[in-house]
Amino acid sequence: MEPAQRTASKRTEVQMARSMCWHCQSEVTGEYFCQQCVKVQPLSKELDYFTCLGLPRLLTIDTARLEAKFYELSRTFHPDFFQNKTESEQGISLGNSALLNMAYRTLKDPIRRAEYLLQLEAGSAKDIRTPPPADLFEEILALQEDLEEFRSASSQQEATSLGQLRTKLQADQASLEQRQKDMEARLFELFMKWDSFQDRTGQDDRLRAEKDPVLKEMREILSNRTYLRSIVDDLVATTG
């Protein structure tokens, strides 16, 4: 189907399209369409989401620019505009639109953006993963036990203990939500720190040694945040 797939050249500009047209085999100079035969070109599956949306690999992003680019490309690739084209072109339009939507959804949300970046950087970051602190497990366990007690009190209609438990659990919920906020604030600080590395040239060991702790801390925060969020969800569902 795609004979030109394996002949990727080393183009220096943003490599949106494959270097050779899948249809007429001429060199593709335009970004999304072949200038010889005017066929739409598939976005490379290896393209990372930042490149796909024309953004530098940074964690603080210009959301207006992200949105503008997304709308522009959505119009470019929208399957509606390919209804009268060949099956191959319809397929490409669909594939490009799917990739684009995924890229936009991922980068729009700061948490998903950070998770995605960690995934991209996994080569270096996966070795520095540490388990969450043991006291967090104990805390979650204690909360789950309280929730269990609350559920059983509520099924037996023990009004007094139910009221006390509800007060306690609501206080716990408030403090957990505050901690989530603190974690997010710290996460955004780390975003700036990460981005400041990107302005520096050279991928030497010293830079690596500074980057890794930032990646590691982001990973820890994201993982602990997920944990807190799931217990908060339980709290809301049970006492709310």
């Binding site: 969450p132 497990f137 979650i140 366990l141 789950q144 944990y227 217990i231």
Partner: protein
């Protein structure tokens, strides 16, 4: 995806649910969790001599996590501390027929076993040094 019969059995009739007092002599406690799915697992052993005479667990999580820890307590009872250290998550996967997406539950159970054994050893060492 449907749970295997063995998972359903452990889920409906979990063995050895409960807890020991953490401070009691010969008790080792392991608390582990998986942030991705919000699970938390507590596994405790009671050791007399070198043998695990009783084991208890309390797990808040999915059926596979509950079944994995329930099975772990069953297996640990009667074993020596050293033997219990040889229980592998792959044994749990095999016994419970866990699908690939649930393998992490068995890993969690193995982590809990290791944590409980380590806690017991630490306490035992501390008391002999006193």
């Amino acid at each position: 995806m449907a749970y295997s019969e063995k998972v359903v059995d452990h889920f409906n009739n979990p063995r050895n649910v409960g807890s020991f007092k953490k401070e009691d002599e010969g008790v080792g406690t392991g608390i582990v969790g998986a942030p991705e799915c919000g699970d938390v697992m507590k596994l405790q052993i009671k050791v007399q001599g070198e043998r695990i005479v009783d084991a208890k667990f309390k797990t808040f999580g999915c059926g596979s996590a509950i079944a994995s820890s329930s099975l772990a307590t069953e297996w640990m009872k009667g074993k020596t501390v050293e033997e219990a250290g040889n229980i592998k998550n792959t044994d749990i996967v095999h016994e419970l027929n866990l699908p690939p997406v649930k393998i992490h539950c068995s890993v969690l159970a193995e982590d809990a076993i290791k944590a409980a054994l380590a806690d017991y050893k630490k306490k035992a060492e501390a008391s002999t040094n006193m």
